[in-house]
Amino acid sequence: MTMTNDHEALAAPAMMEGDARDFFALLKPRVMSLVVFTAFIGMLLAPGEIHPVLGFIAILAIAVGAGASGALNMWYDADIDILMSRTAKRPIPAGKITREATLAFGLVLSVFSVAVLGVTINWLSAGLLAFTIFFYAVVYTMWLKRSTPHNIVIGGAAGAFPPMIGWACVTNSISIESIVLFSIIFLWTPAHFWALALFKSGDYGRAGVPMLPNVSGERTTKNQIVLYAVLTAISGVVPALMGFAGIVYGGVAAALGAAFIWYSFKTWQMPDGDEKMIPAKKLFAYSLVYLFAIFMALAVDNLAARYLGAVI
C-alpha cells in the first residue's frame, strides 16, 4: 500500500460515524491522565496557595491543552498511524472521524485551553501551555519524529512541562524546583519509549519512523537506555538533595531509581534479536510505575511535611 493510497483511504466520508467517545479518544486519555497527575503534583509542591476552584480549572485547562496536542498529533500522523498495530485503531485510521474535523477540534481546544488558563490563572502558565502544545504538535510531531532517531529525547520535553505549568499556576514563576520536576520526566522519557521501540521496532520500521532501534540497532539502544535510566534515577533523588523533599522521599526515590536501573540492565543483558523481548516489556511497564510512584512519593512527602509540621 503506497502513501497515496493511505491518504485516499483516509478521504473524508460524507458524514462522520464517530461519536463522542471517538472524539474523546483523539485527546489521548491515557497520556492526559499522566499530564493531570504530574500537573497536580507540581501545583501541590509549589509554595503558596491556589483556590480549589481555580486549581480545578487550571488542571482542566492543562488537560484539555494536552489533549488538543494529542488530537493535532493524530491529525498529522494519520498516514503512519494506519500502518502501526498500536495506532491503527485510532479514530482517523479507523474511519470514524475525518482529518479535517480532527484538525479543527485540536486547534479550537488549543486556543480555548490557553485562553481559559490565561484569563482565570495567569499568562505565564498559559504561555507555557501554548509552548507545550506547539512543541508537541509542531517541533516533535511535524519535525523531529520523522527526521531523527533522537526524536523522543528532545520531544520528551513536551511531556515534561505539565508539572512546571502546575507550579507556575500557583507561583506565577519558573523556579529551580520546577525545573527539577521537568528534568525527572524529561530524562525518564527516552528509556520509557526506547523500551517500547525495542519490542515494536517492526511497527516503527513499517511506518518509516526512525526510532533508535531501527536506525542504530538494538545494542546502541540498550546502552542509551541504561544511560538514561541512571540519569533518571539521579534526577529522582535531587528534590531530597536540594531540600524541597524530605529524607524519606530521598530513600524511596533511591530505591525506585535503583529498580529502574536494574530493569534497564536486564534489558541491556537481553541478547540481540530476542523474539519475545520480555525484559524490555518489563522495563516499559516498570517505567510507568516509576513515574507514578516518584510523583506520588513527592506528594505524600509534601503533605506529610505540611500537616505534620516538619520535613520527614
Binding site: A14, A20, F23, H51
Partner: protein
C-alpha cells in the same frame, strides 16, 4: 434539492456528539460562574451607579 440521507449509525453518532456538546457547554457555564464568584465575589455588586 439533493439531501444526504443519514444511516442509523450516523444518526446515533450525531446524537452522541450533540449530547456531549450540550454537557460540555453546561459545565462551562457552571465553571465560569464559579470562577467569577471566586475571583470577584461580592465585590461585583460594589460599583458606581
Amino acid at each position: 434539492m439533493d439531501q444526504v440521507e443519514l444511516t442509523e449509525q450516523q444518526k446515533k453518532a450525531r446524537r452522541s456528539r450533540s449530547v456531549a456538546l450540550a454537557i460540555v457547554l453546561a459545565v462551562l457555564v457552571l465553571l465560569f460562574y464559579a470562577v467569577t464568584i471566586v475571583k470577584i465575589g461580592p465585590e461585583i455588586l460594589n460599583r458606581p451607579m
